[in-house]
């Protein structure tokens, strides 16, 4: 049994503790690295912001005082409706599909659609500029499509588009785009009435495509920007004809301002001069945007490089990094300084603030997560959310005397700057993770081995002492050669055990030594007394001689008993066991008790059938001797001693009960230790060492059984219950014998009594908790 078995709340195991500590030790450097990286990024971004601001300042210096560059546009647009022609990266295919207009999606204006998006004759207009051409996309709502009848000279009797602009030479120009058939557009210079072609043949500078759709027309066309001259006054109307018979103009939706004062729109384009200057300044990975005081983009160059170079690495770090790709978002989130991360939706207003503050005269820097200002055309819409990223924007105002002409914004992707830092973080993560794993496994192994060694040591130490505290071995084998502290512990425990063993040996041999040492003087005493009596006949009859002889005998008996008890276990080793009918033995024994104890009466109750157990009959007799002696010593005179034999599944039970003084509480087990006697008011005149019940226990345990003493239920006396396992096979009379069916020799607890009728008042007799089966005597 485990001598260390205390009911104690167990703390974390050694291995767990070691691992937690190890993790802490490993995590601290990782955390420090991480903090370092964060700081590094902050510094880098700050430095970059400053650089960008300087760049913006530098560029703005170029424009300082160059009012002329900004003056080719009316500074005030009060009288005009502006049509913005956005720069386009890719060429347009005139095929009736708007898919190649993706980059300008959302940048349209509507006309005639105030009441709803499907108003007849209303349209959406998108203007783009590329390579000196003005690209126009119109999506026209028209329920009844009337194409041009080529047989008629009048051009205003079908759906058509009118263009009004001022040519470079200052003349008014009127051009009509007619749709002779699906896909085809034809342009004509018109007379002032918009009825007939002025020149006759079609105008070739207009090129485009019309596509009839469910809701109307999809019209795309281009015209050279030179046609518009430098001021770019421009008007556009859709003329709707619905009745194919009357061919009357039903509605005209035009882009011209409502006031119609001047009659033209203004196509606002980037200033080429500005663009030229700015383009020369562009550098890789940055975008430079020049904005005028009216917040119109006047020039833009460069693009945010967003795609990381993906040179495939072949070394193992790269491979591990490949696995770590999944962690990229988290790493970014970790590294990204949260306080300046702005949701993309708010980016526009934030950018506006930046521009406004810059236009107010203050240089400003902003770090924003967004695709801000004019989006780079190369990014398709589908990729946009993925590539939305943090950029640094630096804005510096352009001043002229005391006027602010506009601002220069330099944008650069943070990713560019921090990518190497993120790579470093990834490497740290890779190395830390690998290191952590290795250290973790090593710690696990170490802790496991340590715990295993300690556990082994504990087990062996526990095994060194049996449940009654006797030493079984005097040395430990495990860990005895280990050089570390556990080895020291093992050696120390082993030394302790061997010292304890020596002491135990001394104690065990004590009765023998004592007997040996006492017997010689006792013999001298005894023989001297005999000789004295022989020599002096006059004192032979003296009562003192007799009492001296009795004294000698008693000392001899004491020493003999002690030695016998000490030798009992050794003596039991040589005992021969045979299967006998214990019931018969006990019955016989009790019958003889009535002869040997004349003044005491005995009552026996047993089973009708034999109970076979594998026992040493002399030892059972000795056991009964001790039980009966004990009962006789303590019984109340005139009461009878009750002996009962009963059998249960797997074990038999011998109960000896007497009326008399009861046991004090909590002494029921210690009673069976040697030299322990509890019943204080027992007989004083008899040899009484408390060895008897020790002998009983030793014999019972040697038979694989146990013994308990308990007070009777009614408190009138004491019962001692011995339980011994039954023989596993009945060699004599299996048909009627009570034997165990179980194969184990040890008694099994809580078995149903086979012969419960035999017990007088037994509740659930079991080896574990025997009941005093005698309540009244």
């Amino acid at each position: 049994m485990n001598v260390f078995k205390h009911k104690r709340r167990r703390g974390p195991k050694l291995g767990t503790k070691l691992m937690l500590l190890g993790l802490l030790v490993l995590l601290i450097p990782t955390w420090i690295n991480y903090r370092q990286l964060i700081e590094m990024e902050r510094i880098l971004i700050q430095a970059q912001s400053q650089t960008q601001l300087k760049t913006a300042q530098g560029i703005s210096t170029l424009f300082n005082g160059r009012e002329d560059l900004f003056q080719n546009l009316p500074i005030s647009l009060d009288d005009y409706e502006a049509l913005f022609a956005n720069p386009m990266q890719d060429p347009i295919r005139f095929d009736g599909k708007d898919s190649d207009w993706e980059e300008l999606s959302g940048k349209f204006r509507t006309f005639g659609l105030d009441a709803g998006s499907d108003v007849d004759a209303g349209f959406r207009l998108t203007l783009g500029e590329r390579a000196g051409q003005l690209n126009v996309l119109m999506k026209v709502n028209d329920q009844d499509l009337v194409l041009r009848d080529q047989g008629m000279l009048r051009l205003d009797n079908a759906d058509h588009v009118r263009l009004n602009f001022i040519k470079a030479n200052g003349e008014d120009a009127r051009v009509v785009l007619t749709f002779p058939d699906n896909g085809i557009i034809t342009a004509y210079n018109m007379d002032k009435e918009w009825k007939f072609s002025e020149t006759g043949p079609p105008e070739k500078k207009f090129h485009g495509y019309v596509q009839q759709t469910d809701t109307g027309y999809l019209l795309e066309f281009r015209m050279p920007l030179d046609l518009l001259g430098s001021r770019r006054y421009f008007g556009l109307s859709f003329v709707d004809v619905d009745d194919i018979k009357t061919r009357k103009v039903r509605a005209i939706t035009q882009t011209l301002p409502k006031s119609n004062k001047v009659g033209f729109n203004l196509v606002v384009l980037r200033s080429p001069e500005l663009l030229n200057i700015v383009e020369g300044l562009g550098y890789a990975g940055a975008r430079i945007v020049v904005i005028d005081s009216e917040k119109r983009v006047r020039a833009q160059t460069g693009g945010l490089s967003t795609l990381r170079s993906t040179t495939p690495d072949t070394n193992w770090i790269a491979r591990v990094r490949g696995w770590l790709e999944v962690f990229h978002p988290y790493i970014k989130k970790m590294v990204g300084t949260g306080d300046i991360t702005i949701p993309a939706e708010n980016a526009e207003s934030i950018t506006n603030q930046l521009i406004e503050s810059s236009l107010a005269g203050d240089p400003a820097v902003l770090i924003s997560r967004a695709m801000v200002l004019l989006d780079a055309g190369s990014i398709s819409k589908a990729d946009r959310p993925k590539l939305a990223q943090e950029i640094i924007m630096a804005a510096h105002p352009i001043v002229s005397e005391n006027k602010i002409l506009g601002t220069v914004i330099v944008e650069q992707n943070i990713d560019e700057i921090v990518s190497f830092q993120r790579n470093a973080l990834e490497q740290i993560v890779v190395f830390s993770t690998t290191g952590l794993l290795i250290a973790f496994v090593a710690l696990l192994l170490f802790a496991g081995r340590l715990a295993w060694r300690i556990r082994n040591l504990r087990k062996e130490t526990s095994r060194a002492i049996d449940e009654r505290g006797r030493l079984i071995t005097d040395t430990l084998k495990s860990e005895i050669n280990a050089g570390d502290e556990i080895g020291d512990l093992a050696r120390s425990v082993s030394g302790l055990l061997s010292k304890l063993h020596q002491h135990n040996n001394f104690l065990e041999n004590m009765p023998r030594t004592l007997r040996h040492e006492i017997n010689n003087p006792l013999n001298t005493l005894s023989t001297s007394l005999q000789n004295l009596a022989e020599e002096t006949p006059s004192i032979r009859e003296s009562k003192y001689i007799e009492s001296a002889k009795r004294g000698v005998l008693r000392i001899g008996a004491i020493v003999q008993n002690l030695a016998d008890a000490a030798n009992l276990e050794e003596a039991l080793e040589s005992e021969e066991f045979e299967i006998i009918d214990v019931q018969k033995l006990v019955e016989n024994y009790v019958a003889n008790c009535n002869i040997s104890h004349k003044n005491t009466s005995f009552e026996y109750s047993g089973t009708s059938s034999p109970i076979y157990a594998q026992v040493s009959d002399y030892r059972i007799e000795q056991l009964l001797d001790k039980l009966i002696d004990n009962a006789v010593d303590f019984h109340v005179s005139d009461s009878s001693i009750k002996v009962q034999v009963s059998a249960y599944r797997g074990y038999m039970q011998i109960t000896v009960a007497n009326r008399g003084p009861v046991l004090p509480n909590s002494s029921e087990q210690s009673l069976f230790d040697s030299m322990v006697s509890h019943r204080r008011d027992g007989p004083q005149n008899k040899l009484h060492f408390g060895l008897g019940l020790y002998v009983v226990r030793t014999i019972a345990q040697y038979h694989g059984g146990n013994v308990r003493a308990m007070n009777l239920v009614d408190g009138s006396g004491v019962a001692v219950v011995v339980q011994i396992p039954l023989a596993t096979t009945a060699s004599r009379d299996p048909s009627s014998a009570i034997t165990a069916h179980a194969t184990d020799r040890t008694p099994v607890a809580s078995k149903t009594p086979v012969a419960s009728k035999m017990s007088v008042a037994s509740k659930t007799p079991a080896v574990g908790k025997p009941q005093a089966s005698i309540q009244t005597l």
Binding site: R515, T524, N531, E534, V586, V590, I595, S596
Partner: protein, 232 residues
């Protein structure tokens, strides 16, 4: 001529007491305190009976050595061990050496004297080869010659030690009657005898019978009382 009894005992008091008591019974006594002394004495004259203590001074096995020595000179010499070493193993090795009996201290001097006389008689019997005596008791297959200490079972001779012989004689005195432990204790002629000692002796007797007759089942235990001889 009185018989010469040799006593080897290192304790002077006990030695003197033995010598006094045995002399009183009419024997001549030679007492020795050590092994050397004893062997020197035996060189001069061999005694008729030797009483040996096992531990002599510092020599823990001196008694056994003397026994071996003297029995090599005179194999039929009766030797009694009288010792405080009463472990089973000592008893067995003593008897195995050829000792006739093994007595434990403290001893009753009367018993000792009786033991001496019976052993001397037995020695005489064996030396004179007088096999048949008048005092022979026959119970069933058992015949018991109390003078010659001869015992046969189914006409086969059994060798019992003196104590065992006396116990068996007690057991068969009235066949069929139970004999108590107490009676057996008296028969052993030792002062301190426990039930266990009786049981051990009885078992040895049984084994000796069973050795020549596996069917032997005449000695019955009366648990809590003693033994009973029943006829087979």
């Amino acid at each position: 001529m009185p018989k010469l009894i040799a006593i080897v005992e290192d304790d002077p008091d006990q030695r003197a007491n033995y010598a006094y008591a045995i002399t009183k019974k009419g024997y001549e006594v030679q007492a020795y305190a050590s092994r050397e002394e004893a062997l020197l004495g035996f060189d001069k004259q061999l005694p008729d009976l030797v009483i040996l203590d096992i531990i002599l001074g510092d020599e823990v096995d001196a008694g056994f050595q003397i026994c071996r020595d003297i029995l090599s000179r005179s194999p039929s010499l009766p030797v009694i061990f009288l010792t405080e070493r009463i472990n089973e193993i000592d008893k067995i090795s003593g008897l195995r050496l050829g000792a006739w009996d093994y007595l434990s201290k403290p001893i009753s001097l009367d018993y000792l004297a009786e033991k001496i006389s019976s052993l001397l008689r037995l020695g005489e019997v064996s030396s004179t080869q007088v096999s048949a005596s008048d005092n022979v008791k026959v119970i069933g297959h058992l015949s018991l010659d109390q003078d010659a200490l001869l015992l046969t079972w189914k006409n086969q001779r059994l060798d019992l030690s003196g104590t065992e012989f006396r116990m068996l004689a007690k057991l068969v005195k009235v066949p069929g009657h139970a004999v108590s432990y107490e009676s057996f204790m008296n028969a052993t002629m030792q002062s301190l005898v426990t039930n266990n000692t009786i049981n051990t002796h009885m078992r040895n007797i049984r084994k000796k019978f069973e050795a020549i007759d596996p069917e032997f089942d005449c000695i019955k235990s009366e648990y809590g009382f003693g033994y009973r001889w029943i006829k087979q």
